[in-house]
């Protein structure tokens, strides 16, 4: 199916694509058919800088299990950091 459901979040950071680094200002997250991954559906994340055009994009297509593992890993890594380093 196409879920038609898309979650957008504003970000601040950088990412690296095949050509170069780019500023990442937005993430689009959705569960839908992948372009490349060999699965019927994947959790897809587009890390983008819309001001730089459509190709300024780092794309991830992860199985649901992989996406949950990634979420847990991110949370684990953040939890291990002293809070004074992550408060801005």
């Amino acid at each position: 199916m196409c879920t038609y459901e898309t979650v957008c979040v504003c970000l601040e950071g950088s990412g690296k694509g095949p050509a170069s680094w780019l500023r990442v200002t937005q993430a689009t997250v959705y569960f839908d058919h992948p372009v490349h991954a060999m699965a019927d559906h994947t959790l897809n994340i587009d890390l983008t800088d819309p001001s730089q055009g459509p190709s300024a994009r780092i794309a991830l297509e992860l199985t649901a299990e992989s996406a949950r593992a990634l979420v847990a890993a991110i949370q684990q890594a953040l939890d291990a950091v002293p809070s004074e380093l992550t408060h801005t």
């Binding site: 199916m1 196409c2 459901e5 019927d40 587009d46 994009r57």
Partner: protein, 240 residues
């Protein structure tokens, strides 16, 4: 067969890129508007356009994401379009109208035009046939023609529009699909029957969503081959 990239006049008078494939010869023939899936105006969709030319039709696929991302790679364009909320229904209808008008203006046109779409395009094929003078429509496993979209979904269903369906409809579905589920297909069948619409349908037991997609794990060769035969027969009946 000859293929080219052309510009059509879409919704609001906008220039929209489109992929065109035409059989050789000057004989009179019907046309097919192919509506691409959410992943965009991609290689697989262009192969489908060429297949319709091979079947004897002038076929065209408008790039529904042309406005958001002209010239971008199909996957990048799809990402931009999704981030911006997708293709509004009104705009889709206008773009398909422009594609149909383009086909009917060809010297080879017999005046008949069909639509076909896969996945989100299946819903949009039905949407177009509810709003435009189309001669035959094909819905390949379009989600939310009926049924209730999840809360927050970008699109509603077409239940209130189905009484306005102007063309015979062929629906091809997978029994293992959840969107549309067999229950949602049954709802579609019941609504169209209650409104006296022509609806041919087939649900394949050993198939789920996207069984026509030759480049995806969902591909089911038996269902896809049979589906293509049914599409050829349906268009042969209504577009010749």
């Amino acid at each position: 067969m000859a293929t080219s990239t052309v510009t059509i006049t879409g919704h609001g008078g906008d220039d929209v890129q489109a992929y065109l494939a035409r059989p050789e010869g000057d004989g009179s023939r019907g046309g097919v508007v192919v509506i691409h899936h959410m992943p965009g105006y991609d290689r697989a969709t262009k192969e489908i356009v060429r297949r319709f030319a091979e079947l004897g039709y002038d076929a065209i696929c408008p790039n529904l994401y042309w406005r958001e991302a002209p010239g971008a790679a199909p996957d990048d364009a799809a990402a931009v379009a999704r981030a911006q909320g997708g293709v509004p229904d009104e705009r889709l209808v206008g773009d398909v109208a422009g594609a149909a008008a383009y086909l009917r203006a060809l010297a080879t046109s017999n005046g008949k035009v069909g639509t076909i779409g896969y996945c989100s395009g299946g819903r949009q094929s039905v949407l177009a046939a509810c709003n435009l003078d189309i001669d035959a429509a094909v819905d390949c496993y379009g989600a939310f023609v009926t049924g209730t979209p999840p809360e927050g979904s970008m699109r509603g269903n077409l239940v209130d529009q189905l009484p306005n369906l102007r063309a015979p409809l062929l629906g091809l579905f997978g029994a293992e699909d959840k969107y549309p589920s067999p229950e949602q297909v049954a709802e579609l069948r019941d609504i169209l029957a209650a409104n006296g619409k022509v609806f041919e349908e087939h649900t394949y037991e050993d198939a789920g969503h996207a069984f026509f997609s030759v480049d995806r794990p969902a591909y089911r060769v038996a269902a896809a081959n049979d589906g293509w035969e049914r599409i050829a027969a349906f268009y042969g009946k209504h577009l010749r």
